[in-house]
Symmetry: C2
Subunit: 338 residues, 2 copies
DNA sequence: GAATTAATTTGCAACGTTGCATATCTTGTG
DNA sequence: CACAAGATATGCAACGTTGCAAATTAATTC
């Protein structure tokens, strides 16, 4: 029982508890981690002391010894497409890790194609126990890297990889189908899909489902795509032109809230009355558009819930669950306004 | 020169470099931290090896030994007032720490009054080297705690404390004054200030400046305040009523983008034409409203820049700079639309 | 009551780093 | 050429934790 000098610094460590209880460091450590070989009496004594002293294991100590960081990292895409996405995602993650040992570190990403470096860094330096990525591409490099390294991660979005991995995704196919059907039921004939970032798996899923649905319903489809870098003002200008086309669409589906706003602004300025001359359905993630235009139909993606789910999946993955058991889809929530 | 077994694991540590160069652990460590007592030749040798091997100091090791976490924490308020606030703030911080050793951890906050616990946790467990807080109150408990603990932090917002502390703030007084003057120049007579969270220092500053400016310009002031918990739909409803009041204001100033949206929606539904029947000026933080209503005046707060500045101040504070030298204001950027 | 066996507890080393006190090597001096 | 004085380099201990081998204590058997 050779316990070193008191240390006497403020911090409560295993040693403090050891001294308090007269037990050895190892015993205290073991006990706190629920060592079943210990006498019940000692376990109680340790637990009690730990509680009384407010002991919290030192992260650096644990991390150094075990390699466990108790950190999950969110790679945050810079895009502004889904308004309020970052905030809700973070709140969701925060909600899910509340009460656990985990902390959240956020790695903001500026350019999309730089992502590889970010992941490489995390992988090389074991700077987190798991990673959450968003805006996943069909053959996402980041996903490939983490699969190869057998590193725990979960993606917001699916991929085309053969090896299964954990993901949670918005069910875009259902979104597109629902939207087309709704427009058809409103009597629309010429429906247009305005869809952004074409590098994303989601993009592909939406387009495919859109084609299928319009064909089935006998509608005339039209697609406006690949405009992830188009500034909103440009988008708005295009919408004004669109409003004046002779054969303009009478139904529009938009998967980005930001673009929906530009679109709406432009169409209205072009003289169209929303919900009369033209019907619009958009993917809603924030409370903004409903506040402004309560009458416009939308289909909601609950980003907060996605954050919670992604985190839960990731934590299970970190604990060793098989990837194929960690794949979920979120059902789109139609918000028909009348 | 007793270097232990190779370890041979993948990770590059000081020991790897020591073995490579034939120097001792201490020498390598010292050299990497710029020990001037070392021969130039050795320093070069070490630097070279470190670079070749891609050495990155182990965070856990450093943290355990020195107590330095190389982490800054952002306490993220749950409010949705300023649209896109979280994302831009995080991007700003990310931009500022790029190239440094620092990581960003985000601590989402759900209830405002719980904040104390969050800070207490960080303080007790030394879980970051410094903290950024937002939505600061005049006698903010969190600020008090960190001042008392002499812990590095910076607040987005000022306080009334006597002891100086680092802050960066939007110059709300100028905002209010500018806005009032602009409305006056547009011929407005009855101006109303719609302002949210009354727990905030900002709130106080705006209200004071508003009163002063309206008095000076001979305008009839009116204030709608303390509506931080009013849901947007309610706000919208109030705006409709407002539009129908006989003595309704002909100029409105709003400090929250979210409320501006509710307000605009309601006023328009109430039959008013923006920019004609009523003039509006709002504090703009996102690209949303300009996209939708390019003709509405606003005054911009650059949240990204705020994130950068807050971080720079914090890093200087962590390095020991005096708080009184770390206090800056951001000038409001008027965006007059015609 | 001695010898086993089972039940508890503990010492030691290690994770990667740094700071200090000491050791080793060069020079220059008398 | 012995020796002090600088110039360089190193060993050691410690930060807080955990896992394992080994030690101690208690219970059982004959």
């Amino acid at each position: 029982m050779a316990i070193r000098s008191t240390g006497s610094s403020g911090r409560v460590t295993l040693r403090t508890i050891a001294q308090m209880t007269g037990l050895s460091l190892s015993t205290v450590s073991l006990s706190l981690r629920g060592g079943t070989t210990l006498k019940q009496e000692t376990r109680d004594k340790v637990a009690e002391a730990a509680k009384a002293l407010g002991y919290v294991p030192d992260r650096a100590g644990v991390r150094l010894r075990t390699g466990k960081t108790n950190v999950i990292a969110l790679v945050l895409d810079g895009a502004e497409d889904s308004i309020d996405f970052a905030r809700q995602m973070i709140q969701g993650i925060g909600h899910a890790i509340k009460g656990t040992r985990y902390h959240l570190t956020v790695i903001p990403e500026f350019e999309r194609n730089i992502s590889g470096d970010t992941i490489r860094y995390v992988l090389d330096n074991r700077t987190a126990d798991g990673v959450i990525i968003t805006h996943t591409a069909p053959r996402d490099r980041r996903v490939q890297m983490m699969i190869d390294a057998d590193f725990p991660f979960v993606s917001h979005g699916r991929t085309e990889f053969f090896t299964p991995h954990a993901f949670h995704d918005f069910h875009s196919e259902v979104f597109a189908t629902m939207a087309v059907e709704r427009l058809a039921s409103r009597g629309c004939k010429r429906v247009m899909l305005v869809v952004g970032d074409d590098t994303t798996t989601n993009h592909h899923n939406i387009v495919t489902a859109f084609h299928r649905a319009t064909a089935r319903m006998g509608l005339e489809p039209r697609i406006m795509t690949g405009m992830q870098y188009l500034p909103p003002t440009e988008m708005r200008r295009m919408a004004i032109e669109l409003a004046n086309e002779p054969d303009r669409p009478d139904g529009i589906i938009c998967d980005s809230e930001m673009r929906t706003i530009a679109l709406t602004g432009g169409l209205m300025e072009g003289g169209l009355r929303m919900g009369q001359d033209v019907h619009l359905i958009y993917k809603q993630t924030s409370g903004i558009l409903p506040t402004l235009f309560p009458a416009v139909d939308s289909i909601r993606e609950d980003v907060f819930a996605a954050g919670v789910e992604l985190t839960n999946l990731l934590l299970r993955r970190i604990e060793g669950a098989e990837p194929e058991t960690l794949q979920t889809l979120a059902e789109p929530q139609p918000q028909w306004r009348n």
